[in-house]
Amino acid sequence: MKNYINGAIREAIAKGRVLMSKIPGARELGVYFPSLATIANREIEQIISELDYLYNDDDYNDPKSIRQKFSKFKQLSGRMSDIENVVIAAMSRKAADDEFVNKLVYQICQEINYPLQTPVASCLSQKYYHIYPDYNLICIPLLESEFVLHIPDIYHELGHPLLYLENPKLDAMQNNLGLFNVEVRKYFDDEIKRRELNKTNQAEFDSIHVWKESWVEKWSVELFCDLFATYTLGPAYIWSNIHMCTKMSWEVYKIPTFQKSSHPPGEARMKAILYGLELVGFKDVKKEIEAKWEEFKVIVDHKKPTGFPVAVPDKLLKLAAEFCLVGTKQIGCDIISPESKGKVCELLNNSWKQFWADPENFYEWEKTAVAQFKTTL
């Protein structure tokens, strides 16, 4: 296998060079995508240089290091395929609506005083809204440029880089996430200790560890992104979250049993963002949204598992809302208020008001509103 790994490394280096040659030139990249090309070139250069080191380094070529050599090769290959499947693909499959979504994301970042560079937007996502913080690329589903009710999800995605990228501007936000996680760990450690003392069968599996892992590794971040969206956009984000749950997530009380999950249950997300909404002065709208959410829960009739209050205690949801608000303010983002102005913020919040005023004729209103809005960007 020593020969295999060296052959595989050389092939990967060649692949990197081919990938670099596939990065489109100025004419194809247009106005919005050149920064993506720069990132792709730099990342591929870095991967090739690391592969080259792995191929030539005497210590890595020692038979004792074969496992580490394979491990390092696997990561570098993963990074290369990420570049190929995400960045090169986004640049190569530009769509007519990219201009609009890029202007839209730019306008949002201006309105909320986003502390980082505006991400490049591609509207060819096949996997709902998502973001790649390292590439500064946000992907939006194709038809979203014609509709408004899910656009608030962009605000959630903008939260991810703030919680992950290493940049001194973001220290305060990440510190608040970290302080919140300290509380999460303490809560679960205390609960684990209590359970250990009362346990009759030591071999019995307890999901409490899975809940703790889910919180620390995934849920805290997702909740902070939900809250960031709430603090910068307001009620429209929460309405949009209900809209998403009606389409994709009926198991509103679902908590993991054996393996950690990526997102907290819908009920937990709603409770946290409703706490957040009240913190920024939307008490009346909060009641309205809460009432609709309760109606939805009756319709889907998902049964609450007995462990739910332990897995998702209210006190952690309230703490998340408080810590995230402090972090969002400390990094200088503009917090929404009932008086906030801003083209996108007004469009999205008014859209939901209009939707509830006349749901059945909303589409006609939406068509006109989107067309008019596009002319103002």
Binding site: D59, Y60, D62, K64, S65, Q68, K69, S71, K72, K74, Q75, G78, R79, S81, D82, N85, K127, Y128, Y129, H130, I131, Y132, P133, D134, E157, H160, L163, Y164, Q174, N175, L177, G178, L179, N181, V182, R185, K186, D189, H209, K212, E213, V216, E217, K218, S220, V221, E222, C225, M244, M248, S249, S262, H263
Partner: protein, 121 residues
Amino acid sequence: MSNIGINTNSFRITSKYLDILNDFIVKAKIHPEITEARQEQLIDFVSKLTDVNNAEPQFQMLASIIERELRNFNKRPDVFFSTLIEDIKNKNTETVIPKIEMITEALDVENSEVLAKIIGD
């Protein structure tokens, strides 16, 4: 509701520390003495993992991933980490390497899982 953002973060963070730890193992196997600088670096890394009051989200994530792996092998994280720190202080390469390998194994499992999800998601 996409998992891509969060999985990409996990992939990048685990890759970063896998890289550092793999380098350590490779060098330590071939040049078994632990230098003062390396000793300090390792103690700092392990101490951050064990500090329940550490507020760096990256380390909180890494600690959670490693603790899970240790539990799967019926090892108590507090005992594992404190003996590891002692071994590093004593520059006992023979006992340090297998423990660091166990940590890299935990990160490697997570790294592979999230990569599969990113590619297949």
